[in-house]
Point group: C2
Chain length 373, copies 2
Amino acid sequence: MEFQIDKTDGNARACTIKTAHSTIQTPVFMPVGTVGSVKSLDAVDMSEMLGAQIILGNTYHLYLRPSDEVVKHFGGLHGFTKFPNSFLTDSGGFQAFSLSDISKADSNGIMFKSHIDGSTHYFTPEKVLDIQYNLNSDIMMILDDLVALPATKERIALSIKRTTDWAKRAITYHQEKQAQGIGKHQNIFAIIQGGTDKEFRHISANELCALPFDGFAIGGLSVGESNALMYETVEYTTPLMPKEKPRYLMGVGTPEDLVENVERGVDMFDCVMPTRNARNGSLFTSFGKISIKNAKFQKDESPLDPECDCFTCKHYSRGYLHHLFRAKELTYFRLASIHNLHYYLTLMKQMREAILKGEFKAFKAEFYRKRGK
Amino acid sequence: MEFQIDKTDGNARACTIKTAHSTIQTPVFMPVGTVGSVKSLDAVDMSEMLGAQIILGNTYHLYLRPSDEVVKHFGGLHGFTKFPNSFLTDSGGFQAFSLSDISKADSNGIMFKSHIDGSTHYFTPEKVLDIQYNLNSDIMMILDDLVALPATKERIALSIKRTTDWAKRAITYHQEKQAQGIGKHQNIFAIIQGGTDKEFRHISANELCALPFDGFAIGGLSVGESNALMYETVEYTTPLMPKEKPRYLMGVGTPEDLVENVERGVDMFDCVMPTRNARNGSLFTSFGKISIKNAKFQKDESPLDPECDCFTCKHYSRGYLHHLFRAKELTYFRLASIHNLHYYLTLMKQMREAILKGEFKAFKAEFYRKRGK
């Protein structure tokens, strides 16, 4: 992976990341393609219509179905899904923890039962890398030990200790594998834990950032804490991370969260929000969210957002989308997902342009002004 | 509507129909866009990707939701859905009969309860035209009296009498409306009934074809009778229909049904089969149907049909589609629907070419040979 900082504006950064599959300009939002498709969209939608430079795949889901062996048979995620740009895959730990009825972490890894068929599986730091070698993602995340907030100090202390232990095992294993010619073009990111406790974040960041990972993520946020506490934790953590490597805030968030955390020095984001909200009828616009099921849109001939130039806004009215949503038509899901992802990806581009011009503060003020905030 | 016969080959016909919105080359298959969208697809998919010259909208559904008044507000179906080519709308009678828990025909029309909210409605020959004027479809179907097969002779006799009575009321009403400037660019088709009884089909065809409709449909088939009986009834009925007007076989059918009935002189078809089957995992190919959920496709890197040049076959493997189907991903529905509709529309084009070359018999033999029949 090549990484360079193109410009900084305060703590906000505009960077360029080059992987084996694409050039990623940051700040970047990674749409979530859980099981090898961004829900309701295909690879042509993602690469040609939306211009996504990188999408996220979920290791837990792909491991269980169709299995990483099947994905490998097709030449990895790129060959399987035909999305030509970069993939980041998570470690699977979060889903083993959140989707499984039964999951249990011990010092060696995480035991869990499949949400599909109840079969028992065990993820270790090495196992999740083996899966990700088969998936051939451009960026692999290591297994970390997650904690639901609020948590006791003891539990958080255990989490960051385990996370560091597992990170050491992961980087050692990855170096061995690369020496054997496996995963040579794949990059590996560690995940800083520590809840919203500054001391723990400090320890976790220091321990992990001393290791030769290709990038670092802030994990364990956006799990129920207040926005203010999330922003404060990010603001505290980013200065502890190396400048010369990408910084990824996992599972975040709303458009406001993206703006606030770019300002605090984050380069990369992922979240199911744009696609999940789209399916639920919640659509993002330059002036805030709208609920398309609202009866007031029934005869509305205007596009979702007059400032938007996405495929959906170019072709269809609020009234038609309102009808499709109410009638539960499959067509709705794609049109709404295109719009919301276009909104997110465009917001990132606008932030990058503002950073390049040294106008991030003005951009942020205008972003809030349009929303009446 | 302009209509011309370009070529005949036996009883098979290649014709051209010009409506206010598009030029339709027959034999033609009309994809079904029940509530104003062909399920999982949008107007750009239909017009640009698939090149559909005409699609069918369901009067019953559109009347109930969003209502024909709302569709009229957007400038009719074209303005509402943004599909630029022709629309044919059915009369709503079939759905009032099949979807409603309670429906009852009398000499004046059909009373039914909405499947959405249980509200009571009454369709008359005039009412369903008023709805279709608001929808501004290019071809309107008149209200007919449907009979589930098998039925008694008395019930069929009543059906064809009512259908003729309602047809007379419909054509009179339409002429009055057109004289008032309403529906001036809209065409009106009558529907020949009579079950599989030759005598009744003869009476119904004679009575209706004496009236100045723009085209004629064969209704009341593909409702449970054998294929052989359907083909026999069509073969008997088409010669009773005027040569100089389009002939439409409603709700039919499989690829084999299309070939057999084109051979018997039918110009137009509609059916939910390509889109419904797609959603259920049943995909059409030049060598017959395949069930994409079959485990043998898990590692299959080939396209659905090596002879197919649709968007789906150009980009994706059977293995990926198998995975998307198994994982119930929304993306699957669009890719599968594109393939099945492309198969149907291409089959119609191939039949037209064969007719123009006077090679329909050879085409039919090859069609069955590829399927091992």
